[in-house]
């Protein structure tokens, strides 16, 4: 779960990372009032879950409450890169001497965390990594010992003398934020040295490990502050991994790998055989889960055929079959549903479907047959 900047900064503040004075505004009037209170010279920043705000018009430096109100109004009205904007952050401008970059991220190759500090910040870090690799210092962080003080000193040892202590303190506190919140990423681009010698975080990008939300009820609540497609919201509430795509073949499968392979096969099966979605019912799909999945898929008007591809391990195919039949009592599909079942209790599942003899259900023997059939049916053919 990617947090908004202001939510990340709230986490920073709890750990004592220096930040500019700031206020969140949800209306242009609130933005004007905040700018007034902060002295007029402020940055107005869209709060979104995507990056590239600086270049994309998502940050405005202004010098009066009126200007702040105008910019906030524009941002709230226009949105940002297609995403709705419900709030902006109004922040007092600071007197910057130099800009740097810091990040701590889960490094899946190493199975642990990697901390990075660059003596060039406020720019794209990929570009720095490519053109000036020496600008970036890296250190793996053991998840048991945490980021040690010597590592913080080494990571920041290439910064100007007057910035080092503050930067080492900042990266140590950033690790504490990551550990507190079970984050997989804490990125600060930029952090800055001010003319008065203070080292301060100007940005905050924090990604929380979804698997850890069970022990962070306060962070789990933030999920409601992010815009979400209504179909995706419904799927998520049912514990389904759903992603809307542009094609016409609705896909339901169990296991991310199998679902991805199914999308690949549908694409290969025909030039217009594109998947309408990614939907992984996960392990142990119950009848209820299958029924909700079908309802979710069939609520997409682009769907011309549905492909259910289940290979049972924990998932039992008899329950899947019952779930499909249960769903067909709740919704009346106008499109064919190709069903392919294999693995645990597959014969029982196939028998249940055969006995039901539902006019919309088209059984398929193999995954390849099922993909070709579903793609052909979406094109209006019969395979």
């Amino acid at each position: 779960m990617d947090l908004y900047e202001h939510q990340g900064k709230d986490l920073f503040e709890r750990r004592g990372i220096p930040l500019p004075e700031r206020a969140v505004a949800t209306t242009p009037q609130e933005a004007a009032a905040a700018a007034e209170r902060l002295g007029g010279d402020v940055a107005v920043k869209v709060q979104v879950q995507t990056g590239g705000r600086g270049k994309g018009g998502g940050v405005a430096l202004v010098h009066s409450p009126d200007e702040a109100e105008r910019e906030a109004s524009r941002m709230l009205e226009e949105g940002f890169k297609g995403a709705p904007v419900t709030r902006v952050l109004v922040e007092r401008l600071v007197d910057i001497e130099a800009q740097y970059y810091a990040a701590i991220s889960l490094d899946r190759s190493a199975g642990t965390y990697l901390a990075l500090v660059s003596n060039e910040g406020g720019v794209e870090i990929e570009e720095v990594a490519r053109t000036k690799p020496d600008a970036i210092r890296r250190s793996h962080v053991d998840a048991v010992r945490g980021l040690r003080p010597y590592q913080a000193r080494r990571l920041t040892g290439h910064l100007p003398t007057q910035a080092r202590d503050g930067a080492a303190d900042l990266i140590s506190k950033a690790y504490a934020v990551l550990a507190d919140a079970d984050a997989t990423l804490v990125e600060i681009n930029p952090f800055v040295l001010l003319r008065d010698g203070t080292v301060m975080a100007l940005d905050a990008k924090v990604t929380i490990d979804d698997n850890a939300l069970f022990r962070h009820p306060d962070l789990a609540e933030l999920a409601d502050t992010f815009p979400i497609d209504p179909i995706e919201k419904r799927a998520r509430a049912a514990g389904l991994q759903y992603l809307k795509l542009d094609g016409e073949v609705g896909i339901i499968g169990n296991g991310a790998g199998l679902v991805m392979a199914t999308l690949d096969l549908v694409k290969q099966a025909g030039e217009r055989g594109e998947a309408a979605n990614f939907l992984d019912v996960g392990g142990g799909a119950s009848a209820e889960v299958m029924a909700t999945s079908l309802e979710v898929i069939l609520s997409d008007p682009n769907v011309k055929s549905v492909l259910v591809n289940i290979f049972g391990g924990i998932t039992r195919c008899d329950l899947v079959a019952l779930g499909i039949l249960e769903a067909l009592e709740r919704v009346t599909p106008q499109v064919p549903i190709v069903v392919r079942l294999d693995g645990t209790n597959a014969e029982e599942g196939r028998r249940i479907l055969a006995e039901a003899n539902h006019p919309r259900i088209v059984p398929a023997e193999t995954m390849l047959d099922a993909a070709e059939l579903a793609a052909a049916l979406a094109r209006g053919g019969t395979g």
Binding site: S109, L114, A143, A261, E274
Partner: protein
């Protein structure tokens, strides 16, 4: 021989009294696996259809000689079950549980490096050496004994490809579901290394998917250290670009993590990559003929 598990493996099932634990413990036993014990705190002294239940793994090891742990306990308690198994002297820990926080797994894997225990998973379907032992949830009936080793990041996709192999009369020495979590135990490298050393394995199938750089590192390992033929499959050619973990993530992997990049890396290491599960099975048949 096979790798990781065989007819001599003695399995203790953590979480045996839960519905999934019971179902799969009995299923594995019916397959022929030596399921010698179960563990559920507070339920020591009970039994699950004749399988004795203990309060702790140490008790189970002492009383039954268990050497392999199969874990079904819920995510908040699964790391504890792994620590407990390692401290009880279990040599192979197979963790089926999904949804364990990455930070917990990072601590667990750091701890295990200092012990003699190997971990498979979490968020994985387990390990099966067909005809010998099934430690996990892979449906035994789709497998057949044979000489192809298989290692996969995916669960159900593994079943699909095993199924395709078996239907063509190609059996398997061992199938390893390494799991899809970012921080996990045995990966492609460790599995390839063991298959390379296993006299009962002639060829290895590796099944990857988009994200991370496990497949790219496996390709480099194959080029250097694997003499047996390897056939690959990568899922996710048509998947939309996944969420990157910010800018730092892209730097760490040094790779786009796309299916295309992974397939190219494998092909550069003289590994043939099938574009469908069926094609993988065909490539295996060709390579063995």
């Amino acid at each position: 021989m096979a790798i990781l598990v065989d007819e001599g493996s003695k399995v203790v099932v953590a979480g045996i009294t839960g519905s999934e634990g019971t179902f799969h413990a009995l299923r594995d036993r019916a397959y022929g696996t030596q399921v010698v014990a179960g563990v559920t705190p507070g339920k020591g002294g009970q039994d699950v259809e004749g399988i004795p239940v203990f309060d702790t793994v140490a008790d189970a090891v002492e009383r039954t000689g268990a050497d392999t742990s199969l874990i079904f306990v819920p995510a908040p308690f699964a790391p504890e079950a792994i620590y407990e198994a390692a401290d009880a002297g279990i040599g192979l820990i197979v963790c089926i549980t999904e949804g364990i926080p990455a930070r917990d797994m990072s601590q667990v894997t750091a701890y295990l490096r200092g012990t003699g225990a190997s971990l498979v998973g979490p968020n994985c379907p387990g390990v099966i050496s067909p005809g010998r032992s099934n430690v996990g949830i892979i449906p035994g009936e789709i497998c057949a004994p044979g000489r192809v080793g298989l290692v996969s990041r995916s669960g159900t996709l593994t079943y699909q490809i095993v199924h395709e192999l078996t239907q063509r009369g190609i059996g398997q020495s061992t199938c390893v579901g390494m799991g899809g979590d970012p921080v996990h135990g045995i990966g492609f490298l460790e599995a390839l290394e063991r298959f390379e050393a296993d006299p009962e394995t002639d060829l290895v199938v590796m099944i990857g998917e988009i994200g991370g750089d496990d497949e790219e590192r496996a390709a480099a390992f194959i080029a250097e250290h694997v003499s047996k033929p390897v056939v690959g499959y990568i899922a996710g050619f048509t998947a939309p670009p996944g969420k990157r973990m910010g800018h730092a993530g892209a730097i760490i992997t040094g790779s786009a993590g796309t299916a295309q990049a992974k397939a190219e890396a494998l092909e550069a290491a003289a590994t043939r990559v099938g574009r469908t599960p069926s094609e993988v099975a065909e490539l295996v048949r060709d390579a063995l003929s």
